[in-house]
Amino acid sequence: MRLRVGRGILPWLFLTPLLVMILIAWVGPLILTVYLGFTDLSYRNFLAFIENFFTSKVHYTISNFQRILGLKDPKIAEVIRTTVIYVSGTLAINAFFSLLLSIAIAYFLRNEIASMILRVTWLLPRVTPGVIYALMWVWFVDPRYGMMNTLLSAVGVPKSWLPQSWILYTPYSRILMIMINGYVGASFGMIIYTAAIKSIPPDLINAALVDGASDFQVARRIIVPLLKWPMLFVTAWQTLSLLASYEYILMVWGGGRATSDAYGVASESGVLVWSLYSYGKAFAEKLYGYASALSMILVVIGLALIILYFKVFGFRRMMEPSKVEV
């Protein structure tokens, strides 16, 4: 007799491997993070803690959150400021500037070759290994051998404006931080946007041209409004990934893993962002409970921002049925 698998079971059969992976790699750590956030786990009580794992002998506390939210940790104010600058600055490139680029590439540039070159230029960092990409920037801005200052003077930027070191001095270090992350992140938005622009029916654009619109007006009045969904998606996605990302900052500014030089010169250079701070607390200072609390707050902030975006973009209106698929 053949085994009969019902329609009710079959989907679960297919989903199981993925669900198991999500459970192990995502739900598990999530629960662990929440749990640890309410404890005082650190290198000092590590072994004792492991023995009492998930028992009442563990010392539960909300002091981590009190320290963070009450700004009792002297670094927190600085970290918040840096993170706001980092996320909003990079977002301006990843979500907004990439929109302008995409419209230029997919609509204004009729020349296929020029458009292709632009596309590849912005995709290159994405396909370069991260460490190499970070190293290239370090060399690029090197005060002695780097091209950055040479190039800037060549286009007429006065010598007195250029810093001794792009890495060490604010605001240059922060500009650099935004450039590094923006250049590699913009391609994500560009791929989404150009695909969306190409899927706008040509008749719609032709109709606008016949109605008397200039190319600029077509972009502003037709293309941009039709890209609301992709814009929301890219903005939300990039906000979350920027809040959580610190790898390039770590590679360019960070130090080793000894407690003393955990954050390298990140703090002095004004590029110590929340996620890097949390990383350092966990893996350099080994204050696991505190680091977990930091991460948890970051996730909550991320979710709050997503809800805010939906409000701003008019979620209701966007969900209205439309026969024209864009």
Partner: protein, 362 residues
């Protein structure tokens, strides 16, 4: 209102020739239909007139002004697209107001015009809706409203009725024609439906494979088609064609194809005989059925009868060739029955088999 003149206009997409050497002069206020099968270059022609495509060769004039190099916004053209192309993110009101806003028309003026057009097209109650919430017929009227609100010099319509159901299409046909005459706007109307073209247009430009076949008034296309393509494309049911040759016997001319034999008028017979191989064409309504055996005519057997209500299309077989005959419904015949059919001599056309041209004599 302007005259529109296309002179030797061609358009190539890479190696695809979409339009070849097109010459069309549209008079001021005229309603011209561009008629042809799918892919013959109708939309391409409209888009060139609108300024979206630049012709690969040739010039386009509005009155005496050469507009070939003008961008669309400087041409004052109104266009209804095949897909309607309503802006999905704007309300009906904003859709219609869009061209006016771009012209920097004062707000009160825009409002007046939008409402006027909405009243004309009976879409007043739809003004607050989005295009996604409209039926096909409503969308079509909104698209028309958007094209008319800017008071264009030339109105271009790309198969505006093709997405409507049959009943609405017949209704809108008359409405559009009336509207065009009232407004007096020079109109070019694209369609692949010959009935639409025949019923609405002052003149019809028939196109095939990018080339103009004939540009004339509907009755001229019907009664004196320039070639086999036009003869076959115009009229429903279509014209009957039989390949054969013309022979002379005792001063009389006959068209012969196997056992099929028809006597021709002397003038037509003479030029037909010079050609040798020809195609005979006769419209279904120019054939008559006799049930009695008797003199004259051609013997045929009834093949299929298609009743249409008022008329019937009677398919008969003459020596292997099927001919369609349009006959009054009262004529009762049965499949298999043998009858005689008669050709109205003055309504017989002969076409050159090689070139497809209709043979004419003065």
């Amino acid at each position: 209102m302007v005259r529109v003149r296309l002179e030797n206009v061609s358009k190539y997409f890479g190696r695809v020739a979409a339009v070849i050497d097109l010459n069309i002069h549209v008079r001021d206020g005229e309603f011209v239909a561009l008629l042809g099968p799918s892919g013959c270059g109708k939309t391409t022609t409209l888009l060139m007139i609108a300024g979206i495509y630049k012709p690969s060769r040739g010039r386009i004039f509005f009155d005496d002004e050469d507009v070939t190099d003008l961008p669309p916004k400087d041409r004052n053209v109104g266009m209804v697209f095949q897909s309607y192309a309503l802006y999905p993110h704007m309300t009906v009101y904003d859709n219609i107001a869009f061209p006016l806003k771009l012209k920097k028309t004062p707000k009160s003026e825009i409002d007046r015009k939008v409402r006027e057009v909405a009243r004309l097209l009976q879409i007043e109650e739809l003004l607050d809706r989005k295009p996604g919430q409209l039926s096909g017929g409503q969308q079509q009227r909104v698209a028309l409203g958007r094209a008319l609100a800017k008071e264009p010099d030339v109105l271009l319509l790309d198969e505006p009725l093709s997405n409507l159901d049959a009943k609405l299409r017949v209704y809108m046909r008359a409405e559009l024609k009336k509207l065009q005459k009232e407004l007096g706007v020079t109109t070019i109307y694209v369609t692949h439906d010959q009935v639409e073209a025949m019923t609405m247009a002052d003149r019809i430009a028939v196109m095939n494979k990018g080339r103009l076949q004939q540009f004339d008034a509907p009755e001229v296309l019907y009664n004196r088609p320039a070639n086999l393509f036009v003869a076959g494309f115009i009229g429903s049911p279509p014209m009957n064609f039989v390949e054969g040759s013309v022979v002379e016997r005792n001063g009389e001319y006959f068209f012969e194809a196997g056992g099929f034999k028809v006597r021709l008028p002397a003038e037509l017979g003479r030029i037909g005989a010079e050609r040798g191989e020809v195609v005979l064409g006769v419209r279904p309504e120019d054939l008559e059925i006799y049930r009695r055996d008797g003199l004259g005519g051609v013997e045929a057997s009834i093949y299929v009868v298609e009743p249409l209500g008022r008329d019937s299309i009677i398919n008969v077989k003459v020596d292997g060739t099927v001919l369609k005959i349009l006959a009054p419904a009262e004529i009762r015949v049965e499949p298999g029955q043998t009858v005689r059919i008669r050709f109205k001599p003055s309504r017989i056309h002969l076409f050159d088999k090689k070139t497809g041209r209709r043979l004419t004599y003065s």
